[in-house]
Structure formats: structure tokens, C-alpha cells
Assembly symmetry: C2
Homo-oligomer: 487 residues x 2
Amino acid sequence: MQALERLRSRMAELSDLAAIGMLSGWDQLVMMPAAGAPARAQQLGTLARLTHERATSAEIGAWLEEIDAAGDAAALAALDRDVVRLARRDWERARRVPDELAVERARAEADGQESWQLARANDDFASFVPALERNVELARAYGECLAEPGESRYEGLLGDFDFGLRTQELQSVFGALARELPPLAEEARVRSPRRTLEVPVAAQEAAVSGTLRRLGVEETSWRVDVSAHPFTAWVGRGDMRLTTRYSDGEVEALLSSLHEYGHALYERQVDPALDRTNLGSGTSMSMHESQSKLWENHVARSRAFAEVLSSELGVGGFAVSAADLHATLVGVEPSLIRVSADPLTYPLHIVVRFELELALIDGDLAVADLPGAWREQMQRLLGVEVPSDALGVLQDVHWGAGAFGYFPSYALGCLIAAQLWEAMEAEIGPREQDLRRGELEPVQRWLGERVHRFGRRLDTTALVVQATGRELEIEPFLRYVAPLAGR
Amino acid sequence: MQALERLRSRMAELSDLAAIGMLSGWDQLVMMPAAGAPARAQQLGTLARLTHERATSAEIGAWLEEIDAAGDAAALAALDRDVVRLARRDWERARRVPDELAVERARAEADGQESWQLARANDDFASFVPALERNVELARAYGECLAEPGESRYEGLLGDFDFGLRTQELQSVFGALARELPPLAEEARVRSPRRTLEVPVAAQEAAVSGTLRRLGVEETSWRVDVSAHPFTAWVGRGDMRLTTRYSDGEVEALLSSLHEYGHALYERQVDPALDRTNLGSGTSMSMHESQSKLWENHVARSRAFAEVLSSELGVGGFAVSAADLHATLVGVEPSLIRVSADPLTYPLHIVVRFELELALIDGDLAVADLPGAWREQMQRLLGVEVPSDALGVLQDVHWGAGAFGYFPSYALGCLIAAQLWEAMEAEIGPREQDLRRGELEPVQRWLGERVHRFGRRLDTTALVVQATGRELEIEPFLRYVAPLAGR
């Protein structure tokens, strides 16, 4: 079937272009001399434009029609069926967006990021209002294009990050978190107070590198570098690159390197048969975040693995007991900033953002009223007073960059991670002994088998059901954090 | 004029794609984990295919026709005239090659490289014969496609590396070198014998980094890394990357880092108005090589600059007099291997290759007779006995990779460098005092003004005339090496 071959060859091309884009982005943040920035921006723009053109070209529609007309889509091998199904979905979604809207969004997002940066630096929300209003307006139009019949605009937007998620489902899950977590947080801040630990950078570096080595991070197929914000790039099978950062006197690097490892392991364990197809990567933002959160919350923050981390810090010349280290990694304190939040209150930061962005897109909240609404929500859910917009509504780049519908995946990641961890322990037994010894291979294997290998063949919800036998639920996460509140 | 705008925007796209390819290639050799190789090969293949498709598409021909039809090509700004002129030349050349031939060549070149690698490792030329025969056959067909009316096949091939060069010109120049250099080499091996200098790697590193810093290599717009074979990548304005390598007890890194610096400086000083056009890079292989050889031969190997190099080695903890260091950097000894040849005999290695590849393409030499012809030529021109094909005809990858017509640029680079250096000194005065102090800015400025800024607007011969007021000649090079023979 010639049309199928052509389709697959286009998908292979798009997958190569995505990898090249990933590499160029990694290089920009890790290797590029500063003065290379303007040229790189042009190059990335060209790559994005070319990719868009090849991903939305009319030929793809013609090949899909030809495959349909042949009438034997059902006779295709299962893998090809999924290739065709996802190709159709992606192509149709992309084609629904008029070129002018795509161009306007790209421009407004660039302006929005610039405006946000200035506004945050000067703690001046008013200066950000016009750019943000423009982004909201364009996001509404964009969501309108993408919404399936019967879906809301917001659901149209969600689909870019987590196809198939329903607003109602999010409202129900996040509503439950908003009820259950604040009282737990009140107790946990007393039972498991936040602490600090003054770890020198050299010891952190030694511990990160020793720990990652135990997890199989070796130099023939990994890179570990330093960047201003930790992130992960998958440039190809056998070419995984994670970054971390080290601040004197903090332990963030221990958590963030395991977090990034989780992202990398997901991509690494996708079935090799899906390489160079449109199925060969993680299925959604929330599944990806579940993998990073699993390694951050359930491995790095476990009491048992603290034995490994403290011994690796010891190799780096820093002595700390596993108990003290663990207490530092899990200490709870409701606070202003999402990215440095503790494991218990983190999802509440997302609930705040979810409710506000939903209201913005639904037209129930004006941009000008956003700072007030933010303060109110932070007071209600986290019990904290927001002293400035810079430490409040201006802290994250997402809305300035036009990304609405992205935040939920951060909290869903926490929930799914907890649910996966419970399902795994129910199936292969408690991991405590293994964690204590730094023996993570059974965890890697279970995740590979139950989650990773499917790539994009299953969407978030189906994948959660396949791996855990149940729909997404919040109880595993509540059980995970309960001990912090002494329950 | 809409067609012109479209043409320029396509040229901008191709220039971005070339930069992305350069980056991917750099990363492959400098940063990529080994296991990333198969995926990277796919990605580079996709990028090449896409670039070829966009560079040869029928649209370009239509735009060029439209610009012609408007009849006012003459009314274009000078820059646009050159954009159109080169676009037409490149497009027409690329279109002359049938797709099947391009595909066959790519395959045969990949096979040829693999076969060459094995043959060299096993010193087994016979096993390489079929692949090389195939490469020769395809190169003949390819040269046939590219030759302009009245040109030979070999001239068609030359055009890929040095547009406008004539075989006859090469024969005359290389014939003169074949007459003049051997007697000089005989005297020089006695007057300026080869010596060794046992410099520890740490001192080499310190000297390379200190020397490059004096030339303006700073981290906001340069990278200096280590790779198995030194090379240079220009990823964008403000993003120059050179690599070097260090072997214990050698001084090669001092020469090769200055050599690569010459390549980088050329690209860096192309007129910024040519960025993202088809004119914005070095004009030919031989001009590029002239820039690297200028810094290698006329700066790094000068008696005056040895003061700088020896003082930088001193900073690295290695004491050597400038005189001894200079003697080591210029010592002459006819030898078997091109890449480690001394400055005087280097061009003779190229003469050997030029005569043999011309005979192969003209059909005057059979592949099977190549090893014998090689030994004969090495005896005649360099007076050395070739003990094995591995140290003889199998030493270079070029022919295995299908690159015929490439070798001449290495020797032309030596000649042009000498001619430029003389012209520069005639114009701005002897450089000796400046070299001694490591003050190279006047040299950089002269090269920028007379050579670099033109990009591809002038071809090799026109550029040499523009910079030196004369056609290419061999006398400056002979004057450069004469002192080594005590003349």
C-alpha cells in the first residue's frame, strides 16, 4: 500500500525534524555561546516553519483518504493502524488552525514573553495586561478551532498537552485536592516542618553523579550537563541528555536530577519498534510529569532511598544521616513559589492556576482582575499572603508564552505517579528493601512494561487504566502525603 | 518584486538549514554519546534530503525566470544581483544531476567509506578495488553532468569545491611545484631537520588557550573543544566553534588550533549584510584552506610568533626557547603521510594525488594500477619508499568517500596564503614586530577587508586578484619556504 508507505516516511521525517529541534534547543541552553542567540532564533524559526508545513501539507490528507478508500484500514497491522489513527488526529487538529491565527499566536507569544519578563522584573502587572489580554484572546480563538463537537474551548487547548482530558474531570479531581490538602498541609507544617541543609556544591555534584550512575546513566548513551533551568532532551535512541543545576547550600539538585531522569527514562523505554513513527514518544504532558514525579517523590523523597543519597553525599565528603536528609527533602511549608513548593502543597499551586486560567478562557475573569483573584486563591488554598505580583501571578512564564491548559499536567503528574507506585507495589511487592540498596531495576522494568513502551499508542486515561487497572484517582496521592501530616 | 523576495526567503531558509546541519555535525563529533550514532545518521540524512529538495525545487527556476522576464535584473541592487547570479548557478548545477545518480552516489560513497576503513585497517587494497571503481565510475558520470560546455569531467567535479578552476591551470601550477620543491626539500632536510619536542598535554592546553585568547577568541562568541580530528563549525554569527586535539609529547595542537582559527575567522568576517543569503560564507575550499594555512604557516610557524607561543608554553609550565620551538615547528623531512607533512613538502603530497585522480577520471589509469602509480609518484616527488598501501594510497578517506577534485584545494591554500601574506606586507608593512608581540589585529583587519567580507560574491580567482592585484602564482610560496633550504 503505497499511501501508507508515504505516510510512514513523512512521519519518519517529522520525527527526525523533532529530534533536530530538540538538539538545537538543548545546545542553545547548554553549549551555545551567548552571541549565537539571534542566529539560533532564526534557525529554530525556520525549522518550526518547515516542520509545520510538512505536518499540515495536503498530501497527508490525500494519503489518509487513499488508505481509507482502500477500505482495509482494519486489515492493517496493529502498529500501522495506530500510525494512521494518530496521523489523522494530528493532521486534522493542525489543519483546523488558520495560518493567520498560527502566525498571530507565534507573534503574540513572543511579545508576551518579553512583556512578562519586564513586568516581573519591575513587579508591574499593569504593563503586562495588554500582552496577556492578547494572548488570552488568541488562545480562546485557538481553543475554539481545536475543540471537538461538544467540547469547550478550554478542552480544545488541553488537547495540545493531554489529549482526551475533560474539564469536568479536572474540576472534580482538583476540587477534591482543594478540599483535602489544606487541612493536611496545616498538620504537616508542624509534624514535618521545612528544614535546610547546607550542602556544598562539590558534594551535591558527587551525589548526583553517583546516584545517576546507580540508575544506569552511563556515558555511552547519556549526557548530564548544567543549565540555568533543569530540563531533559531526547535526541535519539541512545542519546538522552539531562541537565541539572547546583546552588550552594541547597539540596534541590538531588531532587531535580531524579526528576529529569524520570522524563528521560520514559522516552528511553518507548518500544524501539516505534522509532521514527508518530508514536515514538511520551503520550502526554501529564504522563511525562508522572514519570518525573515518580522518581522525584517516590524514589528521591522516600525514607529508604535517603540511605543511598546520604551515602553518595558521604562519598562527596558531606556527612548527613539518612533520617536528617529525608526530613529535609520532604519538609512541608505552604509558600509563594510553585517551583520550590514541597511535595504536599505543590498540587495546590496548580489548582490556583487551573481555576484562574479556566475562568480566563471561559470569559468569567478579566485579565485586569487576575492579581486580586490570585491573592484570594493563594489565601484560600495555601493560607499565604501574596506580598507582590512578582512573587504572585507573575512568577510563571506560561501565560505570557500563551500556554493555557498546560498547568494541570503538573498536578496530574503527582497523582498519576502515586497511583502507579501503588499499583506497582501491589504487583511486585514493596520496594523499600530495594530502594534502601539503590536497586531500581525492577521499578525501571515495571514502568517500561506497563507505561513506557506504549509511546503514544495509548492516551493518558487509557494508559493509566492499562497500568493500574483503574481510572485516575486522588487517593493514592493522599495516602502518599498522609504520613507527612502524621496520619 | 515578489519573485526576488521569495528567492531571498528560500535562500535564508537554506542558510538556516546549513547552519543546523553544521551544528548537528559538530555535536556528533564533539558532544554526542556514542550510542546516538544511528539516530543521528538518520537525522542528518533527513536534513540533507530536505535541503536538497528545497534547493532544487522547480519554484526556484520559476522565480528566476520571473526575475529575468521583468528584464530589470540590471536594475537590481548589486547585492541582489549577486544573490540571483549565485542562486541561478547553484540551482542549475544541482538540477543537472539526475535524482538516481545522486542517490547512487550517496550509497556508493557510504559503501566506499566503509570498505576503505576495512581495507586500511587490513592493509588490503584489493578488497577496496570494487568500491573505489564504483566511486570513480559515478564520479565520471557526475562530472559529465556538471561540466560546462567545453569543460572536462574533472573540471565539472572541481566546480563543487572551487568554481571556475581550470585543469590546465592546476597542471601548470602543480607542474612547477613538482619541479621546484624536490631540490629545495633535499637541502631543507639538512638545513632545517625535523625535530621533536616533548611538550606535556597540560602545557599545550595552556598555550593553545592563551594564544587563542590573544587573537580574540572569547567565550561569548566562540567555543574551543576537543575532538578526534580538529575541525571548525560556524553555527551562526557569534557562534564559532573550533576543535583541537592534544597528543602527549607533540606540538601539533599549536599549529592545528591556529589552522582552525583561520577557517573560523574567515566565516566570522564575512559581511553581516550577507547573513542568511546564499553569499554569506567562504567562497571555495581553496580560499578556506588559504585562510587556515595563512595562520598555520605564516603566523604559527613564523620565527617572530614563536616568541608568543614559547611564552604561552611557559605559562603552562613548559620552558622552551623561541628559537628551539620555531625550529621544531618548521623542521623538514620528506615523509609518507600527508596530514603530518612539513610546510615545504606538504604540497608535493597533493601533487601526487592530483595527478592520480585526474588520470582516474580521465580514464588514463585503472583503479587496480593505483598502488603502483602511487609508489612511483612518492618516489619521484618525495624520494620515499612506500612500505605498505596503508601508509600509502589508503591513507586518506577522500576517494573512498567519492570526493574527487577536492585535494587540489589543500595545495592551492598554501600558495594563496603565501601570496596574500606578501601582498599584505607590501601594503601595511612587515608584520614581524607585531607578530613578536602577538598583535594580530592589523592582519585580521586586512584579511577582513580584502578577503573575508566578500563571502561568495567573488570566486577564487577573482578574489585572489582583488586581494593581491595578481593572478595566482607560486613564487610567494617558494619565497616562503626558501629560507628552510638556506636560500
